[in-house]
Symmetry: C2
Subunit: 253 residues, 2 copies
């Protein structure tokens, strides 16, 4: 299984929709009374690993989140992580699934407003990814099977079904919408790093390339250089989202 989740083993019941960013530090004076004083937080855990990895990704990007770097963040060696996480792929999948806790789900579902509710969910999903640098890249090309992702997928399906969309179309559309969000966020997170001084420069380069193409060899690109690159990310994203949702709506009986 590509996502790193052991598919047959994901425990949906254990999912808890909790505050988006649990502190890595456990609450002082919690409900378990311990007589002997424990070392501050010397215990490694899956949650601590995910939190450390997310901190690194936020600050330095997905590529910086190596097993060695995450271990160092937790003052240990890379081998120690393997007691809590099968491999790097599973670790990153866990981070991704943790972040989807930030997605807001409409409650209750209002059949009359299904298109707005669908759009709002997907914007919320985009915002969640966008808060975490280029993390979305990890989600490219993988079916979301993490426990939290499944909750969001279920809600997306529910909103569409409430709106009278067929099961077949809803099933397909859920895939497409997830794909669209992930890809869009990732594309817009490009050029954030090291080599380039901002996505503006990248954007300008692409625009220049399009304008530089001869009308002989690339007549349509040349005639559309403006349209191909204009509009900020938000605008393009919403435009595309509306287009897809309109397509979904048009399939109803």
């Amino acid at each position: 299984v590509s996502t790193g989740y052991a598919v047959g083993v994901a425990a949906p019941g254990k999912r808890t929709r909790s505050p988006a960013r649990p502190s890595a530090r456990p609450a002082v004076g919690g409900r378990t009374r311990v007589v002997t004083q424990r070392a501050p937080t010397r215990t490694l855990s899956r949650a601590a690993i995910v939190a450390a990895a997310l901190r690194i990704i936020d600050a330095e990007g997905l590529d910086a989140a190596t097993m060695r770097r995450v271990a160092a963040e937790l003052d240990t060696g890379p081998a120690s992580l393997y007691a809590h996480v099968a491999d790097k792929e599973e670790m990153v999948a866990a981070v991704l699934d943790h972040v989807v806790l930030e997605v807001e789900i409409p409650d209750p579902i209002d059949p009359k407003r299904w298109q707005q509710q669908l759009k709002a969910m997907l914007i919320s999903m985009r915002d969640a990814y966008q808060r975490h640098n280029d993390l979305a890249r990890a989600g490219l090309g993988s079916i979301p099977v993490g426990p939290n992702a499944l909750v969001v997928v279920d809600a997306v399906l529910g909103v569409m079904l409430a709106g009278g969309v067929s099961k077949k179309v809803a099933s397909f559309a859920a895939d497409l919408l997830g794909l669209y969000v992930t890809s869009t966020v990732f594309e817009q997170s490009m050029g954030h790093f090291a080599d380039h001084d901002g996505k503006a420069e990248y954007h300008d380069q692409v625009h220049q390339l399009f304008r530089s193409l001869s009308a002989d060899t690339h007549p349509h690109i040349a005639s559309m250089a403006a349209e191909l690159t204009e509009g900020d990310g938000d605008e393009r994203f919403e435009f595309g989202l509306d287009l897809i949702i309109r397509g979904i709506a048009s399939t109803r009986s």
Copy 2:
């Protein structure tokens, strides 16, 4: 620039739409007459590197195409590649762009049949990627700016414009369609390798997971397990393609 192409430097004029799979071996007795016999093909070149990398990708997958492995395939050391290719990213981008030569472009464009022609191009694109293992993964999340890709994009835009689609919609739709093809191919190429004995098993696992979800926590997924996983890749791909194209068509005045 993320694709590895130096955007400002791509030379569209140099693009040649040649036979899909040029042999790595130069034609014997070509048009340049050489007196002294040259060593068989001892000269390294960008084309030879791309061909070697593609061979490895076809046989063993994208991850196997390391600089060291490609160099070994050409009986040399990894450092030698850097005279013809800036880095690994550029090498892979060049392979990707080489493969899009296999995409068939309709000629001439028939405005009346724009929807069919658009669909045929995208199926051809999917087939091209599909012939090359998990290569499509390299295209995820990068704007296609290779010289050959630009020709295909230009044709896609041309077909839509001929069909009366607005420039703004065409611009967006071209992005979306490219995204859709790349992601779909990659998703279907998963589970080809090592750990699993075929995508069937992966597919079954996902189906099992969906069926195992409680109707309490995931009512809609549970009620749609069949729809979510049914249909072979081709069917799902075409269904989605039709849906997107219908959405595009519905925007016309």
